[in-house]
Amino acid sequence: MKWFKKGRWRLSSSLVFQLIETFWGGEGEDLPHSGEKSSSPRSLRGKRTLARWKESAIKTFFFANGILAIIVLIGIFGILLYTAFPAFKEIPLAEFAKKTWDPTSPEKAQYGLLSMIVSTLMCTAGALLVAIPLGLGVAAYLSDVAHWRVREIVKPIVEILAGIPSVVTGFLGIVLFGPVIAKIFHTGHGLNAVNGSFLLAIMALPTIISISEDSLNAVPSAYTEASLALGASRWQTLARVKVPAALSGIIASFMLGMGRAIGETMTVLMATGNARSFPHGFLESVRTMTANIAIELGEVPYYTTHYYALFAIGLVLFVMTFIVNLIADVILNKYQQREL
């Protein structure tokens, strides 16, 4: 925690200095003409103080906007923690680790999160199973094989894929893929974990493609040239030199895609069938954490244990995605530092 205190000290001290400068008109060094102040008339000096005041006020203003991101992030965490706190007080922690989630049961309300967490992880794993080979393939194709014109066309198309609203993807999961899946696997309806996984894969693809491609492109050309000069084919160079060299960035892209899949709400809500029971296979209906919040928050009476428990799910979700994103970030940062 030492660094944090130091950072805060620096922050507060710079604010104090700015205030002092502002009100007592101390000499800042970053302003022009400050050398000739002794010879300048009084009115001009007054103007200059005003200008300085304005400059530091502007700087402080932008600074306040800059730290907004930190405030929002901490605010989200704080509010989730604060609202979920009564749930942790009223429900024993061991209860959360159970399978059954049935908060409205007349006999005994149960708050087991395990089925939901497993469902979320199942859909995410299924999504990655599809999205990783496909995304890496497209990224490799774009960075290594494709003509630059093809790339110019395909990159915006990938952005368009990223722009499709999740509710539309979920809708297509119901009307387009659901019946197909039902036919292939001979299940009554196609709303199950397979459907959810497939849709989540589509939603994770743009992230994986664009970040993997960036890191493949960032591999120094000396590597590829050396490999080609030694007689390797372009495929060998790609598979054994470029991909390993860009591996950290590629893994980071998988993590970011995973983060998206864990947090996605509407597609899984619409396409996975939302059965509460513990899932035993990919062909069963599952209810993920996100879907459960979306289904129940609208109906639950405020300030009941059930209500707080939903925020506890939100907290678990936030922490999960936060960790996944943080890992991706650390990997990417390391990679960038090595590049420099």
Partner: protein
């Protein structure tokens, strides 16, 4: 043919198959929605409210609702995103605090949208007492969009060469004068384009507005910012899963999906094309 050439041929073929299957999925999406949604689209569908328990009529209130919410989102997210980007690119030095700010921004963009919804319920609906309203929903979406607008604005600021700033500073301008006269005029088009991409995503989001203001059905249009509203994505969700006569309203759901996708992709495409033009025009 040598073995390694065969391997290369197969490998590249596989990569090509990957690309084509992704493109095929996207085309299938657009084709299905375009074909089945196109049949539902008429002037009445666009301009009339739903009738008879939403089994007939149009989606006019949902279009208006989405439009209004997106305006609130823009009013919050565009200036805040721009200011934060100006701080990060023009003022911030490479300190630990700056690194933490950047880390927070990247992490914010990974926070699940439903979590933003929970946050909005507590902060805007309960604590600030905006109720379930356009204002609450718009502000929630604004926070959701913030990391994207900051990143996009900063990208735009980064493309302005340093000589622009230095030239102005050398002539005696203060830092803010240099930014205002020599950086912002050139950066703002790019900033706005990037921001529109973020707004398009916000317009298509459903999870954050589920509990902050979107309504199942309203017989009237919202009159003020503190009214509830109907929104296109939420309307599609209802028509697809919650309606009592789901099969009967399928065409309406397809129509809603088409309008939503045209709206969102239209915003996207405009931004992408403008950005492409801006990049090509740039010769410095």
């Amino acid at each position: 043919m040598k073995k390694k050439n065969v391997v290369q041929f197969i490998g590249f073929l596989l990569l090509r198959v990957c690309l084509y299957s992704v493109l095929a999925i996207l085309l299938l999406f657009l084709y299905d929605i375009g074909r089945k949604g196109g049949g539902a689209i008429s002037w009445e569908f666009i301009s009339q409210p739903p009738r008879r328990g939403m089994t007939e009529g149009g989606i006019f209130p949902a279009i208006i609702g989405t439009f209004l919410v997106t305006i609130v989102t823009a009013v919050l997210a565009i200036p805040l995103g721009m200011f934060a980007a100006i701080y990060l690119n023009e003022y911030a030095k490479q300190t630990r605090l700056t690194r933490i700010i950047r880390l927070s921004i990247r992490n914010l963009s990974g926070v699940p949208s439903i979590v933003y919804g929970l946050f909005g319920v507590i902060l805007f609906v309960n604590i600030l007492r905006f109720g379930t309203s356009i204002l609450s929903a718009g502000l929630t979406l604004g926070l959701l969009t913030l990391p994207w607008t900051i990143t996009a604005s900063e990208e735009s600021l980064k493309t302005i060469p340093n000589s622009y700033r230095e030239g102005s500073l050398a002539l005696g301008a203060t830092k803010w004068q240099a930014i205002r006269t020599n950086v912002l005029p050139y950066a703002i088009p790019g900033m706005l384009t990037g921001t529109v991409l973020g707004l398009a995503r916000a317009a298509g989001e459903t999870a954050p507005i589920l509990f902050t203001g979107a309504a199942f059905y309203l017989p009237y249009l919202p009159k003020s910012l503190s009214d509830q509203f109907m929104a296109l994505p939420y309307h599609l969700y209802i028509m697809a899963t919650q309606h009592h006569a789901i099969q009967q309203v399928r065409p309406l759901a397809y129509g809603t999906a088409l309008v939503l996708i045209v709206l969102v992709l239209g915003m996207n495409m405009t931004a992408i094309i403008v950005r492409y033009r801006l990049r090509r025009k740039r010769r410095w």
